[in-house]
Symmetry: C2
Subunit: 212 residues, 2 copies
């Protein structure tokens, strides 16, 4: 069994959001799919540890912002590698509310869902949501998870369903301990300037660790 | 609400298969996603009307064959637009069994799952499966649903979660009544030779109907 083979399943890249009282919250998700055509229904898988999960439980509603290939890596880092519990992720990120749910203005499509059912697993809750609104918002090619990994060189956080621990292949490489980004530039890592920051999560050079 | 916006969710293209006694069965699915990393678990959404769904219920096991961009449109038609109830879809399609489940030899990755839970909806069953085996089988780029629609010019059958009825835009176009393929060649449809067949489901010219 080679779990890396599961990387051949295809996904998009989304910000799943909800509200914590009057405060917008959200996190990156790649596991979202349509379950029914009529009534249109979407399932999304969220880790129990995500603060957003608790807010979806409470409000019974969530929004999906479909990220395009133009989405800034720093935006993905903000929503993917920090917690809404103690960060206002929507600060400085332009958003609009639809049906009371926060949607990124920069996304190419939004979907607003009312939770109608859920399936519990050991680590993740699968929410089934009935689509109450969906629209194209902006031109753009939806970012696929493959594009995120291969072009943006992004990684999966430990709470992602698709997380795979670093393998033998990464031995000797410098890896960002926050987001898992593997440095692969031409300049040896040691020679990078001190103000170098991780291109994904923007953490400083000191956040990198050599994989032994 | 513009349901076409849901087309911006990203999917792969898979053959989900199982066994009906000693006979392999399977159907096309695009709604499959990983739910947990540890233990690795996959959810797949199958229409109640699919014969394969009943076989997954019975055996408690399913396989996912990840199709590559090289997958023949006729293969997709065979598994997507016919029923395993009265067709042996695996006839003339090379396959191998892993853990007793049939897997297409032409796929780039296979995943074998044991059903551990399910979520019922009005039209589809979402099976949660624990991964008991997964391997890379053949080199290839996994086919995305976008590639299937934009490059292969494929359509969704009426049982797909992502099915959208023909719109205003297709008025006057010739559409295959079996698989929904919209003819868009340069030669006017009327002038096509009598032995023309639908490139997706291989049905004859007579299966096409002009959208009024």
């Amino acid at each position: 069994m080679d779990l890396n083979a599961l990387r051949n399943l295809s996904y998009g890249l989304y910000v799943v959001s909800s509200m914590d009282g009057g405060r917008p919250v959200g996190c990156i998700a790649n596991s979202a799919m349509q379950i029914m055509a009529e009534p249109a229904s979407i399932a999304v898988s969220l880790n129990h540890d995500n603060f957003t999960t608790k807010c979806v439980e409470k409000t019974g509603k969530f929004a999906i912002s479909v990220l395009s290939e133009q989405a800034a890596p720093s935006l993905i880092a903000k929503f993917g590698f920090r917690s809404s519990k103690n960060t206002d992720k929507f600060q400085e990120v332009p958003y609009e509310k639809y049906d009371g749910m926060p949607v990124l203005k920069e996304c190419c499509t939004y979907v607003i869902c009312q939770v109608t059912d859920k399936m519990e697993t050991e680590t993740h809750t699968v929410f089934l949501g009935s689509v109450i609104d969906t629209q194209f918002l902006k031109e753009g090619t939806p970012m696929t998870y493959a594009y995120y990994h291969n072009v943006v060189k992004g990684k999966s956080p430990k709470t992602a369903p698709t997380y795979i621990p670093p393998s033998e292949k990464t031995k000797g490489a410098y890896i960002c301990t926050v987001c898992g980004y593997i440095y692969d530039g031409e300049v040896p890592f040691e020679n990078l300037p001190e103000d170098y920051v991780c291109p994904i999560c923007l953490k400083p050079k000191s956040a990198f660790k050599k994989e032994e």
